[in-house]
């Protein structure tokens, strides 16, 4: 997300016309080309009218909905009828009075604005805890400004403060108001949790090296990786697989396959096919964590970690991989690979994966410890296929043979995936690889 944002897509309305809501309830979800946003209610009230439907693309600045805000926000007991009696709010009235709500577009544009500003202000927002934990003293001027702008003490406490001993100064508050009050609504209380993770004080020595500013995508990757490692306790299980049969079959059939279907036959669709099959056997690997709930996904969408020409990482998705035959999988994989090469992956191509494969063998790696693609719970790394002398058991007894071998490693989220499930799953994948039917028809 950046200042280039000019429009957003309404994903869906979570509150319907005529329904009431409480402050902080999510009213709708809005997507932009990079980020999805939840728009929370600024106050309790009723949704009078929506101006756009789900899937509509709306330019920034348009009015999305008209709200009616109840004046007695907190009175929920025996005065329900009064709660509804409220001031009609016209979305175009320029100056808002004390209890009047903001229009969604105001909120939206502010959020966008904040997103924009927050990039440049990020240093402020991620201050070391000592500075962040400001004093709870507020000067008369701060109180006067807060009153004028309807800023609560709770909100004041969230504003980064730069006065002596972390006191909130006039200029701190004014800058906060100018960037659209990014902490207007309650934020995950990361900074205020004394046990929470904190960025240590790092003293970078730039030396004579060059400074490369991260592009937006790199920043998102970085954030995502940190978030994933920070959120999920990673455990990695390793297995070995004999891919001789698969390799032989593929070598024998790839020309015929391409002739018959017009699609190149790489190993990837073979891997996807086996993984999807194993996921079906162990559905709990195809899951997400939502607070105290484990969401086991119905669809099996296999993401394939891919390097873009820029060097950045992207994960195109083979949707419903378990329902596709080899021809469809090959076509799907090839299409995504082409799009990635040409930087043409669209929003839909990179959405919705439920399990991810990272083919580290491509770069010659023997094995890897991949980082989970959140909000999934496991990721599979495939090492290089390498011919090795192996002891195998034949009718003649033990023999040393030249076999095409691969190490598979599965990183899984130990919050919800234990060694038994993780180990069994990755062994099952390896088994499917090994037990490849050499007589399979194309």
């Amino acid at each position: 997300m950046g200042e280039s944002i000019t429009e957003g897509t309404i994903i869906n309305w979570l509150i319907n016309e005529g329904d009431s809501f409480n402050e902080g309830d999510i009213i709708l979800e809005v997507a932009t080309d990079k980020v999805d946003n939840e728009v929370p209610a600024p106050a309790s009230g009723t949704l009078i009218k929506t101006m756009f439907q789900a899937k509509d693309v709306v330019p920034v600045g348009e009015v999305l909905a008209i709200l009616e805000v109840s004046k007695e926000v907190k009175t929920k007991t025996d005065k329900v009828e009064k709660v509804v009696s409220s001031s009609k709010f016209d979305t175009h009235s320029s100056e808002k009075k004390s209890s009047e709500p903001e229009t969604f577009n105001q909120i939206l544009s502010k959020k966008f604005h904040y997103g924009n500003i927050s990039e440049t202000q990020s240093k402020h927002i991620q201050l070391p805890a000592a500075k962040q934990k400001n004093s709870t003293f507020y000067s008369p001027l701060i109180k006067s400004i807060a009153k004028e702008h309807h800023i609560s003490f709770e909100e004041l406490a969230r504003i980064p403060a730069f006065g002596n001993n972390g006191r909130l100064r006039k200029s701190d508050l004014q800058k906060y108001i100018e960037i659209g009050r990014p902490f207007k609504f309650v934020q995950p209380n990361i900074m205020h949790d004394p046990t929470a993770y904190r960025i240590p004080q790092l003293n970078f020595d730039k030396g004579k090296g060059k400074v490369i500013e991260m592009d937006r995508m790199r920043q998102m990757i970085a954030d995502h990786m940190v978030y994933s490692k920070h959120t999920s306790p990673h455990v990695t299980a390793y297995v070995e697989a004999d891919l001789t049969n698969m390799v032989n079959w593929r070598n024998a059939n790839k020309v015929a396959f391409e002739k018959k279907y017009g699609e190149r036959l790489t190993f990837t669709p073979l891997f996807v096919e086996a993984v999807a099959k194993a996921v079906k056997d162990y559905p709990n690997i195809n899951a997400s964590v939502d607070g105290n709930n484990i969401i086991v996904k119905e669809d099996i969408n296999i993401g394939i970690a891919t390097a873009l020409p820029s060097g950045n990482l992207i994960v195109p998705v083979v949707k419903n991989a378990d329902t596709k035959d080899l021809k469809q999988l090959a076509a799907n994989v090839n299409e995504l690979a082409n799009k990635a090469r040409e930087n043409k992956l669209a929003g839909d191509d990179i959405k919705g994966s439920t399990f991810t494969i990272s083919n580290v063998g491509t770069f010659g790696s023997v094995m890897g410890t991949p980082i989970i693609n959140q909000p999934e719970v496991a990721i599979l790394a495939l090492g290089i296929i390498k011919k090795r002398p192996e002891v195998i058991t034949t009718e003649k007894g033990d023999e040393i043979a030249i076999r095409s071998m691969m190490y598979l490693s599965l990183s899984f989220d130990h919050r919800v995936v234990d060694g038994f499930l993780g180990g069994s799953f990755v062994r099952r994948v390896a088994d499917y690889f090994e037990q490849f039917d050499v007589d399979r028809k194309i």
Binding site: L141, K170, S171, Q174
Partner: protein
């Protein structure tokens, strides 16, 4: 003796006596407010009062109700003050009984005087000095048949006080037309003569060459009248001072607050010297019948009784009457004239003052300058009066002895005769002996005379530290002055302001103190080049009470801003600090120019805009003007403040030490102000 004089004298004595008796008879009713009566002193008071003319000036004292009656005031007039009534002709109920101030055409003039004993001697001498000045300059009223004189009434005990010596000294030295009338009743409340003095006033006067003294029986009307007549005749002709020592008995209480029966051991002896039977006998001896005498007495009693009943019914002052006549209105309310005329020279601050005074003296013969070392030989220790004596003569620009009390207090009298004195104490460190006069006489004259006697004077005070001046040539005293209500105080930071304020002060009918920082006089102290200005035009005036927003900034919400409120040297520290910090667009600097009246509107407006305020002073900060101002700003701007209003001043030590390291540690500087600014901006 002329029978009319005797009759008039006797009536006056009887009236005063009846009043004292009536007050005693109605003690409960009349002693709500303290009073003293002339009982026992009536003969001498009547004798002198009857012989004064409307052009004369009198300083009657609190036991002189008989003298006031002899000027033609009615018992009713005095009783209005006794009862602190609204129509009290002297003060409108503001000050005690027999504390007169009067400007009636047909009576001697009575400037205001305080209730502090002996303090009227210097102002009275100032009047005599003013009369002499007017005669020398040809400003006196040529239509008068008789030249005017001054009567300063004193009790003998007050003659032991130091300021009396300054008054006698100057009256004798300059041969002024003044009578010091000393009524000697031998008592100083409960302390008698033996305990309080080595000699009486008559004997004391012998130490002052040129002050002729006589001693008389003040209880004997004829003797008193004739002695006074002779003295007055001599003074009107020969223009020289006299002291009349009049022995009198004190026959009533010292004041209504104490009872003489408790401590007096001489009451019988005193009563044997009562002037009443003496004068009664003198009337009989001069052919008055007993009936005539009785009829005079009865008419006095009846008049006193009926006036008392009338006075009791008079109106009391209203609460709103508190707020009038603290100052006389001034005409200078706007900045006028050319501040920076084209082609004018840049001059240092001390010369701006000098040129201002020179222009004033050229234009106004009423303008004169005196103080220590301002005369022709030196022209001021700072050359602040250089060449003035040569230009205007030694009568208009002259030295005084080291007498700060006289320098300050004499202006009350000078102003009373219509002159405009500019006086000087050499260093602020030496203002202390002058403070008594400034506080008790100068500052309260207008208010306690209910607007009749504002004192128009300028007191110039070189002030402040300017580099190793040490503990007695460096001090700042403005907080002491700002604690005196009834004076205006300027503290300019540059020459142009000083000139404009000096002019405004001259045309102001009220007392003005101008504090002139010695470190700015020549812009020799580092960083004070701003004190040197293009010299404003002759007609340039700068009104009091208008601060100067020397450095103005916009309201900025997203950066920290602050207002510096300061004056004098502080202005230079503030400007230098904001420049060196590169914060000229974050710091608004207000130069107060005058500490009273104080331009609160400009201050509060600025602080409400910037949200933070630093008050800079050179004084030790504790309990100072700056601290009080900071408190006031806090009170007024609380909701607009993002930090406490802070103050920076000198360290809170008793004196500014001589050693330069110690001095530097003691007083603020640009560096110290810079640190304080950063501290406040980061608060």
């Amino acid at each position: 003796m002329n029978k009319e004089i005797l009759k008039k004298g006797f009536l006056n004595l009887c009236t005063a006596k009846s009043m004292a008796e009536l007050y005693e008879a109605n003690f409960k009713q009349v002693s709500k407010y303290v009073h003293a009566t002339s009982r026992g002193h009536e003969a001498i008071q009547t004798a002198i009062g009857m012989q004064l003319l409307p052009q004369d000036y009198a300083f009657p004292y609190y036991r002189d109700d008989a003298m006031l009656l002899s000027f033609g005031l009615q018992p009713y007039d005095l009783m209005l003050q006794l009862l602190a009534k609204k129509d009290d002709p002297f003060s409108g109920g503001r000050t005690y009984y027999s504390h007169p101030s009067l400007k009636d055409d047909d009576k001697p003039k009575i400037p205001h005087q305080s209730s502090a004993t002996g303090m009227q001697a210097i102002p009275a001498t100032g009047v005599a000095m003013g009369m002499q000045y007017k005669e020398l300059q040809g400003l006196d009223d040529k239509t008068l048949k008789d030249l005017p004189l001054v009567v300063c009434s004193l009790g003998d005990a007050s003659v032991t006080e130091g300021e009396i010596a300054e008054a006698f000294q100057m009256a004798a030295l300059k041969q002024m037309p003044i009578i010091f009338l000393v009524q000697d009743n031998g008592w100083d409340i409960s302390a008698n003569a033996a305990e309080t003095r080595a000699q009486n006033a008559f004997e004391y006067a012998r130490g002052f060459n040129g002050l002729e003294a006589i001693s008389i029986d003040g209880a004997n009307f004829i003797e008193s009248y004739e002695a006074v007549e002779k003295v007055i005749k001599t003074i009107r002709k020969e223009r020289r001072p006299f002291l009349i020592h009049a022995k009198v008995p004190l026959l009533n209480h010292h004041t209504s607050g104490v009872r003489m029966e408790w401590y007096r051991d001489d009451l019988d002896e005193a009563r044997s010297r009562d002037p009443y039977p003496v004068l009664k006998k003198q009337l009989k001896d001069n052919g008055f019948s007993s009936e005539e005498i009785l009829s005079i007495e009865n008419s006095a009693k009846a008049k006193v009784q009926s006036d008392f009943e009338k006075a009791l019914k008079a109106e009391d002052p209203k609460p709103e009457d508190l707020f009038t006549n603290d100052f006389a209105p001034t005409l200078i309310t706007e900045e006028k004239g050319e501040r920076s005329p084209k082609g004018a020279d840049k001059v240092v601050m001390v010369d701006c003052a000098l040129f201002a005074v020179e222009e004033l003296m050229k234009k106004h013969k009423e303008c004169l300058l005196y103080g220590q070392d301002v005369g022709g030989r030196l022209g001021g220790v700072f050359r602040e009066a250089a060449t003035l004596a040569q230009k205007f003569g030694d009568d208009r620009v002259f030295n005084t002895p080291i007498q700060e009390a006289f320098i300050v207090g004499s202006t009350v009298g000078m102003s009373a005769v219509g002159l405009k004195p500019i006086v000087e104490v050499q260093f602020a460190d030496y203002i202390w002996p002058g403070l008594n006069q400034l506080f008790t006489e100068v500052s309260r004259s207008c208010y306690l005379s209910n607007g009749k006697w504002p004192v128009s004077m300028i007191l110039r005070v070189p002030i402040g530290a300017y580099g190793s001046g040490g503990p007695y040539h460096s001090s700042s005293v403005e907080s002491v002055l700002t604690n005196i209500r009834g004076i205006k105080i300027a503290y300019p930071s540059n020459g142009a302001d000083l000139k404009g304020l000096m002019k405004a002060a001259y045309y102001d009918p009220n007392p003005v103190v101008i504090l002139e920082h010695k470190g700015l006089y020549w812009s020799k102290v580092k960083g004070t080049q701003g004190a040197t200005s293009v010299e404003p035009d002759e007609d340039y005036v700068l009104p009091f009470g208008k601060a100067w927003v020397l450095q103005e900034i916009w309201k900025q919400e997203n950066v920290e801003t602050l207002t510096i409120v300061t004056y004098g040297m502080g202005v230079h520290w503030a400007m230098n600090a904001s420049e060196e910090l590169g914060m000229k667009d974050q710091i608004e600097v207000i130069d107060l120019r005058t500490l009273f009246p104080l331009d609160e509107e400009t201050i509060m407006k600025s602080v409400k805009k910037t949200g933070k305020c630093l008050v800079v002073t050179e004084e030790p900060s504790n309990n100072s003007f700056a601290r009080a101002l900071a408190g006031k700003i806090q009170e007024e701007c609380f909701k607009f403040l993002d930090a406490p209003v802070m103050t920076i001043g000198s360290e809170n030590m008793p004196a500014i030490p001589l050693n330069s390291t110690l001095e530097e540690t003691m007083i603020p500087s640009t560096e110290k102000v810079k640190k304080k600014i950063e501290n406040l901006l980061n608060y």
